[in-house]
């Protein structure tokens, strides 16, 4: 899990570069750029694409009893920590990261979308997401009941905000690296994860387990994958100067 907990001065440097870029460019309105997908101007560099696979047993979703607000949340909540596409064995909600050695990190600037945590139907949506240090996290409550969004990183509160029904959305910067456990103390069955990196070389898998990461420098790199119950798998990959390299990883 080295890639998940490293604190890098380079990351802070990059954030500074981004800020300076805005200042120099004199952009009045940041929102279109902040909302832009992360794919801009990557046609020349190499792209790593692949699939995360799992062929093991997939238990049926757990039915958790709802202890309050059943009129909004329902009587039970169905949770599936393991979501696998039956046709392809692709694993959803895995977070993939390319671990670059210090000094290998490209200077490319990537504009991330805001990291959203939505309290909706007494669930956090999305259930798993990856984000970059310094990204804005936006928290919304779409439900007519109160929630709180309590984000814990390494036994410490990263953010714990009440989400009163009809209250303001929350906008904060992600300031901590690593695995973020997201909980609601009003509804103990509500739980989600965010994984925050100090570089932009990550993706999370789709319903069919696919991912795509671009902008990595050529060379030999390690790919590490995190999943909430399956843990971590790693693999080395040779990245060419340009073109697409395909790499699949499998949880055994």
């Amino acid at each position: 899990m080295t890639g998940y907990h490293r604190i890098s001065a380079q990351a802070l440097g990059r954030i500074l570069v981004v800020v300076m870029f805005f200042v120099v460019a004199g952009l009045a309105d940041w929102s279109p750029l902040l909302a832009a997908p992360q794919s801009s101007s990557e046609s020349t560099g190499p792209v790593i694409v692949g699939r995360i696979l799992y062929r093991g047993p997939v238990p049926a979703p757990t039915q958790l009893a709802v202890n309050r607000d059943t009129d909004v949340c329902g009587v039970t909540i169905s949770t599936a920590s393991l979501s696998v596409d039956a046709g392809t064995h692709g694993l959803r909600n895995a977070v993939v990261h390319v671990d670059l050695a210090a000094g290998e990190v490209s200077a490319r600037i990537v504009f991330q979308s805001p990291a959203v945590v939505r309290n909706k139907d007494c669930r956090f949506q999305p259930h798993v997401a990856a984000a970059q240090m310094g990204d804005e996290v936006q928290i919304f409550n779409d439900d007519p009941v109160m929630h709180n969004t309590n984000i814990i990183v390494e036994n410490s509160t990263a953010l714990n905000v009440a989400m009163v029904a009809g209250g303001n959305p929350i906008k904060k910067r992600l300031k901590k690296l690593g695995l973020h456990l997201v909980k609601c103390n009003v509804h103990k069955f509500m739980q989600a994860y965010r994984v925050v990196f100090d570089d932009p070389y990550f993706d999370q898998t789709t319903e069919t387990g696919q991912f795509s990461i671009s902008g990595v420098s050529p060379g030999t790199h390690r790919i590490s994958v995190w999943h909430e119950i399956l843990g971590v798998v790693e693999k080395e990959v040779q990245v060419p100067a340009r073109g697409t390299v395909v790499v699949d990883l499998e949880y055994k």
Binding site: N67, R68, N141, M146, N148, T149, N150, I151, I152, E154, N155, S156, T157, A158, L159, N160, V161, A162, M163, V164, A165, G167, N168, I170, K172, K175, K176, N185, V186, K188
Partner: protein, 256 residues
């Protein structure tokens, strides 16, 4: 009384402005100050907070082994009593207040130390956490309470109490017997079971029981615990919060 305290009192009397007394004696945060702070720490704090500030001192280890809350881990742990937004480090004045007042039922007040000694030990405590070397957190605006409370305001405070979900943990009448507490669902960030404050008992207000202290706790939340910060979600709705504060204070009125 120590000479430097007398000097400080004299100095503060001379300062006819509204400047806070504590600024008058706050020593510069340098190696010499931290060294003095270390000596104080070793006889006043180490027993609970441990040699390395991990909250695992000889007594702290025992306190935290079976049930929360455990003594603060100064290296990276969350600070409950702050005037800063959730997830942020406290400002120096927050630490000074906690050292001076103690934490009702958990940590003794250290008002027996001179103010300079308290600042010295704070400088040492801050040296355990690299975060304090970064930019200083910005405190939330914490106004003085409007007063005096009105019956209509307290009635509204009761409505706000339910709207804000206070009863989920603190119970319908504030006894700390809400459903989440009774079901044992309330854990600190270490996974230790903790209990919510009994709002009918002022000694149970760990961050202080003044109107302003309660307002501060609601707005900032108590990091490391399930108590969330309300500042952002209800931002601008100051009157409701003060009504809630006075409602909460009314719950402990008869017991005083």
């Amino acid at each position: 009384m120590r000479i430097h305290a007398l000097v400080a009192i004299g100095a503060s009397l001379l300062m006819l402005s509204g400047a806070s007394f504590v600024h008058a004696v706050k020593p510069e945060d340098n190696q010499a100050t931290r060294e003095k702070g270390k000596q104080i720490y070793e006889h006043a704090c180490l027993l609970c907070h441990g040699v390395d500030g991990r909250g695992d001192g000889p007594a702290g280890w025992f306190l935290s082994r079976y049930e929360g809350p455990r003594p603060r881990d100064f290296r990276g742990g969350s600070y409950k009593f702050r005037s800063t937004p959730s997830g942020e480090l406290p400002i120096d004045q927050d630490l000074f207040r906690t050292v001076t007042q103690g934490i009702s039922g958990h940590m003794p007040p250290y008002s027996g130390l001179s103010e300079e000694e308290r600042w010295q030990v704070i400088a040492y405590i801050k040296s355990f956490n690299q975060g304090f070397k970064g930019p200083v957190s910005i405190a939330l605006l914490l106004p003085n309470p409007p007063g005096p409370p009105s019956a209509a305001g307290i009635d509204n405070g009761r409505t706000v109490y339910i709207k804000y979900g206070c009863q989920n943990c603190h119970g319908d009448n504030g006894y700390g017997d809400g459903k989440e507490a009774l079901d044992g669902n309330l854990k600190d960030t270490y996974g230790h079971t903790i209990s919510p404050g009994d709002l009918t008992e002022r000694a149970s207000f760990k961050g202080g029981s003044s109107a302003q202290a309660i307002y501060r706790g609601i707005m900032t939340g108590l990091d490391g615990t399930p108590m969330p910060s309300y500042a952002d979600t209800i931002g601008g709705n100051d009157k409701d919060v003060w009504d809630l504060v006075y409602y909460i204070l009314s719950l402990s009125q008869e017991r005083q």
